[in-house]
Subunit: 324 residues, 2 copies
């Protein structure tokens, strides 16, 4: 099948680490797994980080997708259009039993850890990870389920009261999605950005945005979506004493940030990663969130390499790959 392949062998530069292949072997579903034909996949910051060495993953990257089930032993899934939770847990360790499969130490993660991902024509996931997509949700919206679920994860971890002042650092894909999720929950976040064109576009989608260096300090909640050590340092400046700092992005390598303010100001730092798909899919179905204004381009899979390059451009939001 056709697929983008990541090769993290030592000595390769960023550009050499990804290749388009037309003869890559089809994935084989194991017991309890379905084979899914990918319809649309989204390029995320984590995918780009991986081309720079993050996670040491080899194989097909990509974890945001909507597809259709082409082979399954679960009749309720046969032929259905689906999205899929990306953590494939073992199902019987302490974490899985505590309903924390997303932290199962034996898990594989679609396109990130031990399991080929969505930047190919087909992928496999356990049946229990797959969720049928309501007809009312177009492919171009459904493909945002995964990042939107990650944004909603914040509300599974903490409570943000209406009226609390929320800043989101980073005017990229993730910052925009988190802002949409917050708005859908009745909050009025302000995005602090660095790119005038992106901030204008956010404003067009009804999201308040302003240059990050003009934000005033004292926010009750700051969400760091920058993926940079600088962003974390800035977030620590902006959050009020006893406030919350939510980290949505990881940074490859070490972050040389002075962490003393966490203690001095008694900040609560919350690491936040993947979330449940159901609330995200519900918000897409009800129309509470329409992420489609964030699409900057849709490329066929065979143009995957230029698509990755586009996704790295500072002016771009979400770039999608159309596998078939």
């Amino acid at each position: 099948m056709r697929a983008l392949i990541l090769n993290q062998s030592a000595g390769l530069g960023s550009a050499e680490r990804v290749a388009l292949r037309d003869d890559y072997p089809m994935p084989n579903p194991r017991r309890g797994e379905s084979l899914v034909r990918v319809r649309l996949a989204g390029i995320c910051g984590t995918d780009l980080e991986m081309t720079r060495g993050y996670m040491g993953f080899n194989g097909i990257p990509g974890h945001e997708f909507v597809g259709e089930v082409v082979s399954t032993t679960t009749s309720a899934l046969a032929g259905r259009r689906v999205v899929g939770e990306i953590n494939a847990a073992c199902g019987d360790c302490d974490f899985c039993r505590a309903n924390m499969g997303r932290h199962c130490p034996k898990r594989s993660v679609l396109g990130i850890l031990g399991r080929g991902g969505a930047f190919g024509e087909y992928l496999c996931l356990p049946d229990r990870n797959l969720i049928p997509v309501p007809d009312a949700v177009a492919d171009e919206a459904a493909v945002f389920t995964e990042p939107l679920a990650a944004a909603f994860e914040i509300f599974e971890q903490t409570t943000i009261e209406p009226g609390e002042q929320v800043a989101i650092l980073g005017d990229g894909r993730l910052g925009a999605i988190v802002a949409l999720a917050m708005k859908a929950r009745g909050l009025s976040p302000i995005v602090g950005g660095h790119h005038e064109d992106k901030m204008k576009r956010l404003a067009g989608a009804g999201i308040a945005a302003q240059p990050e260096d003009r934000l005033r300090t004292g926010f009750d909640v700051v969400v760091d979506c920058t993926g940079s050590a600088k962003g974390l340092a800035r977030a620590l400046e902006l959050v009020r004493p006893r406030g919350k700092l939510i980290l949505k992005t990881t940074v490859a390598g070490s972050a040389g940030v002075n962490l003393a303010p966490i203690v001095i100001n008694e900040i609560q730092v919350l690491g936040s990663r993947c979330g449940r798909f159901r609330p995200a899919l519900d918000a897409l179905r009800s129309g509470a969130i329409d992420p489609r204004p964030l699409i900057s381009g849709i490329y066929p899979l065979e143009e995957g390499l230029p698509a990755l390059a586009r996704a790295s451009e500072k002016s771009k939001f979400k770039i999608l790959l159309k596998a078939s």
Copy 2:
């Protein structure tokens, strides 16, 4: 009066930054403040950090003390033996009105920020900061009220259920005090240390301790009392996914720690600093906590310089200064 003086002018080495003076001017109580004669003061890690440049403070360091009120306009305090909350807040900003005076941006902090401290014969604090010490609490126990209050602050910020596995990193003064506070709350923490003699002494005080590198991963709660970037990195290894990491110590300068596990494992990091004195004093009065086994030595103020040197030795717990 006699006092230890910290001078952080550029170009001085650690040893030259502290001097003993016999002719230092007495502090002058402002309106609403009392003059306190210091009976006993404790040397804390923060004091030692300050001799290495932390906070850029000039003047008399020291913030752990028990003393007696020798001049006041508040009759209830006259002549009383007291301890004192170290943050002197403005009393009418947003933080003060929200009962968060310990985070008042205009505050001075005894012996740390804009206010001379306890390593002299006398100090001043606002009357509202001073709390009479019950007769049943000896000076040698009362002098631990401040660090004990900081330990109890953890329980003001979060809930730790009985049965949760708690590790405390650092077998020093602070780690020991936090362990005593946790035990008083019905928890069974284990201290991870590096010094055989200290761990033996902790065991003698009924606190479980073992070499830090032998701790197994998966703790529900890890409290970092190491004051080192290495400690933070180790804490991130030891805490389970979705667990809590409580930071009780600041590190001077930047910490080169890979923070990705905070996000990947969705850790809740809580910065925790000073606390209310009342619960600490109650625990000392009831006998729930007796910190006196942690005293490694009591020095007269004129031997303050060798006392600071002793406090820096890895084998020592709490060193006290007797001012008069």
